[in-house]
Symmetry: C2
Subunit: 655 residues, 2 copies
């Protein structure tokens, strides 16, 4: 087929593609990531680009394409390279990251991309990453999922002529109390030489879980070889890896990047659709997360040059159920189809080489167990971290707001959990100027009750280009308390301020004027945006009420609310209560717990006891399917007001 | 490097090799097998060939080479191709098999070699192969190591929303009573689709051993797909494969060939030396047995065209400890070094693809457990077959005479076992005209007490070219009873017969005159040969006495003697007693049991109960190391006479 060149601006990166290729794919080939929340379906409009030179062809006509064309923009995913070379400008609003910033530092070959992503996302990630000095064990004993046992075996002789394998396993039984010890063939193959190299002194690398042990390697002598593990939090958006020194029990370094699966869509549903519907879709999406993790591993190894790939003997991941399926290459099809059945909630331990992970080939890979299709290992990991499963724990609620609002309510012996489809509004999706918590996002916001003038702070103090989750919650609270919207979210269009106006899609309120932004237009919030936010907050609150209802508790029974997830630290709790997102209980009962998924992964990797507990937790969590019965739907409808139809639930919220 | 052609006669096969290649290697490249019991060390002299055209270079000078050169012969292993093309004649005595016979039938491509080997060896193998109609179960229930379980699972719905894997394993637990069920990742990956393809009706392929189950595959529906397994007897010399219909519990077909490892030496010691000392030796020797088995599988599939490679879901091998190590690619080094420690006696179950076996990639491969370095899975398999481990079994002796004489003595609860280095004399090695039981081998022999004339029968009634194990035992008995040798094996050189003469290596007796043979010389047995045979028979008898001694029994306590192994059926028991090889107990207590290793392998493959019993047997057999203490050595020295120094042990043998 014919080949054409596409040059992407402002990065100035040129890539050769076959004619017929769409610009989203071309950009991906050039390692330039364009936003594509809908996964290239041509429906979200986030991938708009500007054709500076050459002519291209639209895949098909659409209302959205026509509207963008009026502004001189094309949907990258729907625009196909034809007979001419092209020059394409990517507006800031469409770029997922700004590669051009880092081109100058392009000295590390294959690793540079990882590093640049890391640097770009460093702000976004910094609160996801554990402090290096922090002891991550949270009270569990240091007893990692892979540990060294130094043995001095009785030497073989004519009187004691047991075979080598028996000699080893008998000693291991004594040392571990495990009776079920598996020694895989590759370890057995040279065991004779290994035992004799240092006169029957050996060091065994062993993984011991639930009374069963797996020998990972046997090495001669009692040396002090390094022993590392990697814990990975596989988020739908962001993937963070922690390099752990398993013998010292501490985090050595961390690295994070965006999940490369983003080009198949922002949310798990788009990823599932891609995996199921596209040819080789599952393979592609699976490989994509493996590549993401390999990039992070390479990044960690570059930063910690004394650590070798082969020093990493174990890996543990935590992620939602879809991420776990895709990571292991398990078909996720039925996760999104009623009755929403995952293929597996407990996943087998596999070897790194089976997945192509660039650590020691025989390293074991553990995956956090899930509870249901929409309550995954990230939530189980978080539950472990909060210690909610502890017999003496008071009634507590763990809540993680992302695309879904996942929550766990419980006290020691009992734990109920559910997931409500909050939608990705708090992640910026479906909101006109919604964006992730990145440079230029409005994160805090005040509105003057008299003048309706807006003051805001943005991430990195950049000129505003959009508004992120914490900003949206602030915004909703402020719109309400200044009377700009009513309790149902309807705009008071009669207000005498130029900020209130009627736009293309109905009433809207200007948050930042164009001249103050880094954009070619005003940053606004529309009535449609507010309705979306109300549905999102309503779903979360209805979920909490449903769980309480199932176990017969009231809101005021809750002693602790653990707020987890990406925007936990930036959430303004009083505002979140004011809009009816979170229960009206004393603020001091709220605890920001940050990226509990990652923290729980580190703990489990460092402690067999924690890993056993995590598996027990997953087994004992009762999943409440909200689509069964009317309970949730009734609660949801009542929650579509600010703060709620039933004001007695929010005695401290002033209207 | 320079290339030269070598043409091998009488086959007329031409092969191109690099100059510097030895003729043994060149022949192997041409798929022509030359005898090389010493593994190409230049010490056994069996690979003598005649250079018909061209000149070559000797690797080094040796006494043996000089002696052969006088006869116009060269050692193939020590003769290197130089600057000229060569024509090399392989004498019948040096050829391992006669490929030229089958060249005309060369229509099956890659399979022809397997088939031709099969046909060539068919005589040798016929008693190793089970009759197709015979039920191989020997009283054990039909419950194969891989079986199908047909399940109808409750369909998933919002009320019963367990994950697919849980749904499956819960049903399997109920069906199998196993609580430890492993479902490997490749099976899980598409489980969702598999369960739903036929509305939650599935067929599970499962292997269930000792309370643990491994799922091999899950298939949609309740179809009747074929289900086959292969049992392989890996002999040092001969490898035999049995294709078993696992659901009908019968042998469908059999195939056998020589072990391709033969080119690294005839016995296990040469193979170990090659594996340990040569670069990539272990890999080469390992691959060689895998190739041998793959050849047999291909052969079986050609003969049974309705069976597909992927229908074969399980494989079970039985072989001696060295064969088991080499089959699995385990370094066998310490088997031959005091204190003779095998790396493993119990071997892990692996997948066919790990070994490169050409059956279903996920087929499980079981290996019979061994007891010690020189008491292997073949003996455990034989013990299972004889039912000696049964609680009601009387005192019995299982004896398998090959290179080593392996034996098991026991009754139900107790079993003692040992291996005596009989040497390969009964397999023809170390005997001037010794040979395996192949075309032209003398297998029965009479000597006239007056005239000393010899009459014999040969295998296939061919002209004699040597003498095989059963012939050698006959020969020794007849030499003694005619007074040609005395009780110590010394030749009575004063006898007036031209058959008695003094040859190059001392006194010898002519068994067949050159004109009656297919050779260019007389077939003789020398005094040195007789001494070798006495050492061999003495070692076996001393082994039996030592075992009895250990448990405090006498010869007449033995109720059954099971004679196993390749030459069992052709052994003349009265002659074997007469020379003092076997105990002097009533002939009716002897039972020929043939290839018990193969039979025990088939039983275990068809019955989990048998496999469990086999593993129990291996665990409870007490190995007696004959090199510890003086017991064996004292017995051995007393056994170097015909029949023994202590004639009271042989009351029925007339001198």
């Amino acid at each position: 087929m014919d080949k054409r060149f596409v040059t992407f601006l402002p990065a100035g990166v040129k890539v050769e593609v076959e004619s017929g290729t769409d610009l989203l794919t071309a950009a991906s080939k050039a390692d330039i990531e364009i936003k594509a929340p809908c996964g290239g379906d041509g429906t979200c409009g986030k991938c708009a680009v500007q054709l500076k030179s050459g002519t291209a062809k639209a895949r098909r006509d659409s209302h959205l394409a026509t509207r963008l064309a009026e502004k001189g923009l094309n949907l990258a995913c729907q625009t196909l390279v034809q007979d001419e070379d092209l020059v394409v400008e990517i507006p800031k609003t469409s770029a997922m990251s700004q590669h051009q910033v880092l081109v100058e530092n392009n000295t590390l070959g294959g690793v540079s991309d990882a590093l640049s992503n890391y640097l770009l996302h460093v702000w976004q990630l910094k609160e996801l990453l554990l402090e290096k000095q922090e002891s991550p064990l949270n009270g569990y004993p240091l007893n990692p999922l892979c540990r060294r046992i130094r043995l001095t075996l009785p030497a073989a002789n004519l009187q004691d002529n047991r075979d080598d394998l028996n000699r080893l396993t008998m000693a291991l039984r004594k040392e571990t109390k495990c009776t079920d010890i598996n020694v895989p063939l590759p370890v057995i193959r040279n065991l004779g030489e290994t035992l004799r190299a240092e006169h029957f002194k050996v060091t065994v690398l062993l993984s011991e879980v639930g009374g069963k042990a797996e020998v990972i390697a046997v090495e001669p002598g009692h040396g002090h070889q390094p022993l590392y593990g990697i814990a990975v939090d596989i988020g739908t958006t962001t993937v963070v890896a922690y390099l752990l020194d398993l013998e010292k029990g501490r985090v050595v370094d961390t690295a994070g990047t965006h999940n490369r699966q983003a080009r198949f869509g922002d949310d798990v549903i788009s990823r599932i659709v891609y995996a199921v519907d596209e040819p080789d879709g599952l393979k592609t999406v699976h490989q994509s997360i493996i590549d993401t993790i390999n990039t992070l591993i390479a990044d960690l190894l570059v930063k910690q040059r004394h650590v070798k790939e082969t020093d990493i003997r174990v890996l543990l991941t935590a992620g939602n159920t879809t991420m776990a399926h895709l990571f292991l290459g398990i078909n996720p099809k039925y996760i999104r189809l009623e009755p929403y059945i995952p293929t597996a909630n407990f996943f087998p331990v596999v070897k790194a080489q089976e997945l192509g992970l660039r650590v020691h080939a025989d390293a074991l890979v553990f995956s956090y167990p899930s509870v249901a299709s929409y309550v995954g290992g990230d939530i189980v990991s978080g539950t472990l971290f909060t210690d909610m499963g502890n017999a003496e724990a008071p009634v507590s609620l763990l809540i993680d707001i992302g695309t879904n609002g996942e929550m766990v309510l419980g006290a020691g012996d009992w734990l109920v959990t559910c997931s409500c489809s909050a939608g990705p509004a708090f992640e910026g999706s479906g909101i006109t100027f919604g964006m992730r918590a990145m440079h230029g996002a409005i994160e805090r916001l005040e509105i003057d009750a008299q003048t309706y003038e807006v003051s805001y702070t943005t991430i990195n103090n950049g000129k505003p280009i959009g508004i992120c989750g914490s900003g949206l919650i602030d915004c909703l609270a402020k719109l309400r308390c200044t009377g700009i919207i009513d309790r149902a979210g309807k705009f008071q269009t009669s207000l005498s301020t130029p900020r209130m106006r009627v736009g293309e899609a109905g009433p809207e309120f200007v948050l930042a004027w164009q001249e103050d932004t880094d954009l070619d237009r005003d940053v606004i919030i529309s009535e449609a945006d507010v309705k979306n936010l109300l549905r999102a907050k309503g779903a979360v609150f209805a979920g909490i009420r449903t769980l309480l209802n199932v176990v017969g508790f009231e809101l005021d029974s809750i002693e602790n609310i653990y707020v987890a997830g990406g925007f936990g630290n930036y959430l303004n709790i009083p505002d979140a209560i004011a809009i009816g997102l979170l229960p009206d209980i004393p603020v001091e009962k709220y605890k920001y717990v940050g990226n509990t998924s990652a923290k729980g992964a580190c703990i489990a990797l460092l402690s067999q006891e924690a890993w056993t507990e995590a598996n027990d937790l997953a087994g004992k969590m009762t999943y409440i399917e909200l689509s069964v019965g009317n309970l949730f739907m009734d609660e949801f409808v009542s929650s579509l007001f600010i703060p709620h139809t039933d004001l007695t639930l929010f005695p401290n919220v002033s209207l």
